[in-house]
Symmetry: none
Subunit: 256 residues, 2 copies
């Protein structure tokens, strides 16, 4: 189950942090590391700090963008040290561990996303995350070392996982959830947002010159809904029909 | 209260770990560091890894033995990666955090003791500890980096402390956003569903003769999202604009 949970490091500057991340992951039983545009990798410094977690470094995938890193994930959580203008569903590390294990236990793939050493994740990157995770550090000295942050979150993932293992009889899924389909993945959600945005421009609701926080707010709304595949098909269908209407095409009342 | 909880590092080899320990401590609100016979201290490497926790390094006491380091402490807990021959009261990090905060809250002094990078604490040193603390790592790769172990235990101390302060482990919502969090009422939600339904009919997506389960599915989706008033205004605005488009009215790109 833990193999469904990946760690994503975005634009890491210090290769030592990549090595220390690999070590923390392996200590906590995780194995999938994805590096978004690291400054230096592979590197002797990363190898040294990995202290035996070389297999994780060797298997690490290097990609160019966060979007590539989270393909296939049904739950994406990103660490955030700062208060943002737009409030976002926020978890502490313990809740993050529980959510990750719950999702992974249902067969979903989970990404824990960590930002740059000095600047964290951008607002745009944070908007691709369903939850933001805040490590409750002393506000007077709140910036953790990158690998230390990875250690805290992966530790909480392991604690949550151990808790599920020691329960001899896990309760069944709540009733009425059975027919609800699997959650859509992060990349499917991105395609929906792109479709939504272009439709809103087309009907004149969204001014691309003055987008304000409209898309952020819509991302927040739909992001916390755990949209399943059937619902996604409905929403995409509505958008397609709205565009057809905007373009003056005849109604196609198909057998839905 | 947290000032009653000290971190003791025994015979540390790598000064970088001392610096990273200072940073982790300061992040978590601890301040008292005691070094038992470190190989190299002070050191430029420790300063670099402390990343601003210089005050903790500057105030660190260097002593010759563990006995000196734990003078005055009413509770001493030592980390142990290995199973020992002699069974000993064993805590996980969470229990360790709770015990430390409880003792410190009663005015007692607490020591969290960490051993050597490669060999941990000796049996003799472990026998000076009332509890042993085991970080539940993967048994196949169980040795954490020293500073990572400090991070985990000090994080749990902080979580336990925040709980006693009834302080949130997550930051409060930013001020001035009050109306954003306010959920809409059931009747407002009904007005939205009616508006949604008539719009879907108007764009030809919903056939009133054969509605199927479309509205039920959309109700389920939006119903579980706890829509706030601002989001509701956005959704209603999109519907209004979609209807205007369907009726061939000109786009009214108002100042939104």
């Amino acid at each position: 189950m833990l193999q469904n949970i990946r760690v994503v490091l975005v634009n890491t500057s210090h290769p030592g942090n990549i090595g220390a991340t690999a070590r923390a992951m392996k200590n906590m039983g995780l194995s999938e590391l994805v590096l978004v545009d690291p400054r230096s990798f592979p590197s002797a410094e990363a190898d040294a700090r990995a202290s035996g977690a070389d297999d994780i470094l060797a298997a690490a995938r290097v990609v160019a963008t966060l979007e590539e890193a989270i393909v296939g994930c049904s739950l994406v959580m990103g660490t955030s040290a700062r208060d943002r203008h737009i409030p976002w569903p926020l978890l502490d590390p313990r809740e993050c561990g529980v959510q990750a294990v719950e999702q992974a236990g249902q067969g979903g793939r989970v990404a824990l996303v960590f930002g740059r050493e000095y600047a964290g994740l951008t607002n745009e990157e944070l908007q691709r995350c369903r939850f933001h995770v805040h490590i409750p550090a002393d506000p007077a000295f709140s910036s953790l070392n990158l690998a230390a942050a990875v250690q805290v979150l992966t530790y909480e993932v392991r604690m949550a996982w151990l808790a599920t293992q020691s329960l001899p009889t896990r309760p069944e899924k709540p009733e009425g959830k059975a027919e609800e389909g699997e959650s859509v993945t992060a990349d499917e959600l991105e395609l929906f947002y792109a479709h939504l945005e272009s439709t809103l421009v087309e009907i004149g609701f969204l001014d691309p010159e003055r987008p304000r926080y409209l898309m952020s707010r819509l991302r927040r709304l739909y992001g916390r809904s755990s949209i399943d595949r059937q619902e996604m098909n409905i929403l995409r269908g509505i958008l397609t029909e709205t565009q057809a209407t905007a373009r003056g095409l005849p109604h196609k009342r198909r057998d839905k």
